[in-house]
Symmetry: C2
Subunit: 224 residues, 2 copies
């Protein structure tokens, strides 16, 4: 059975939207879970606000999936094992690790999706970009982490290692997903009428992602 | 040290707002936690929407606490032990028990707060009433529970008992809170320039709460 290029493209768009949507749903659940370690009610409220902003992005992704003729829950389900094992391998052992994970993990995911969204149709791209908008709560995380390190300098070293581990796990899972889903590989490779990424371009994308990760770590006062 | 009636009143209003705010924060956390037992992604999304609606109500309560000169986190902290032990005693053992708890528990709490809000100034009352608005997701719960009982009739008996237990635990905690917080007892008793509840009125309030609880159980197809 051969399929039209259009059908290939639709599949890739559905895959990408499904991955982002499940990623946001699971980030929502983990944030609320990690907020249990928050020292006080003020922090619980701040993290709850981040989590609900994350959840608020879901609706548009789900709508776009329906517009593309997909069953949103099915499109998301495919990516559940990858995200669930990412979260299982990166369960924070204290409140600070949870904050770093929210800041660095969500930032990295957002950068990656934005890069890939460039290869999609304008409507889907718009839905994705707006779903990745910063919920404006990151200042809270930066403050809390800096205050924690100021109080206990050893914390800085531990959190720097933690940030590196998060980056490593995220890349492992991203590679696995890309390898498993032919549609996404095909999307990035391009087609007759669509530009793709050659190896050099892929390398530059990776460099950009690493640089932005380092910038986020620096913002927290941590070495990448 | 004697305090003006105004100060007594302010304390009662702060207590009530603090209790509702912490109640909503903890309901938000428990809903997301219980959504882990959801059978599929569709249900997770529906429960996430309920939880974020619950969280959305917090903001106005926190603002009103600040307007009344209170530290919102402190006002909420006071009620943490009561709500936390309510949740510890009523941890759902499956997805259906979680749904019933969300529906019956939140409904009962909302009815109770609405009754008490009648004894407050119009501004505070308005904030409380609007914070208790139904998030419009209860149809989802009713559907799910009815479908579950249609599939397995024994479920109905178990959930009816569960509903009774929730009601009992809620009353135990409410009594403990009222007993611990003199300001709330004083508010309900009334004052020179404020009407209060006599024993007969308290009895009628209790009857109304029980009737509404029974109506909610009936809605789910369960005996109260």
């Amino acid at each position: 059975m051969t399929e039209s290029p259009d059908e290939d493209y639709r599949r890739a768009a559905v895959d990408l939207l499904g991955a982002i949507a499940y990623g946001e749903l699971s980030a929502f659940e983990r944030l609320v879970e990690d907020a249990k370690m928050a020292p006080g009610i003020e922090d619980k409220i701040a993290i709850g606000a981040m989590a609900t902003a994350e959840f608020g992005h879901l609706q548009k992704l789900v709508e776009r999936l329906s517009e593309l003729g997909a069953d949103p829950a099915e499109a998301m389900q495919v990516f559940r094992p990858s995200f669930d094992s990412f979260h299982a391998y990166t369960a924070p052992s204290d409140y600070y690790e949870g904050l770093i994970k929210a800041y660095v993990g969500d930032g990295l995911a957002a950068d990656f999706y934005r890069e890939i969204a460039a290869y999609l149709d304008p409507e889907t791209r718009e839905v994705i970009i707006s779903s990745l908008e910063d919920s404006g709560q990151t200042a809270f995380i930066v403050d809390r982490v800096k205050a924690g390190i100021a109080e206990d300098h050893r914390l800085g070293g531990r959190l720097a290692l933690w940030g590196r581990r998060l980056m490593g796990e995220a890349l492992t899972q991203a590679q696995r997903v890309a390898g498993d889903r032919e549609s996404l590989t095909a999307l990035l490779a391009g087609g007759v009428d669509r530009p793709g990424l050659d190896l050099a371009a892929l390398g530059r994308m990776f460099t950009r992602l690493t640089e932005r990760h380092a910038a986020r770590m620096a913002e927290l006062g941590l070495e990448a």
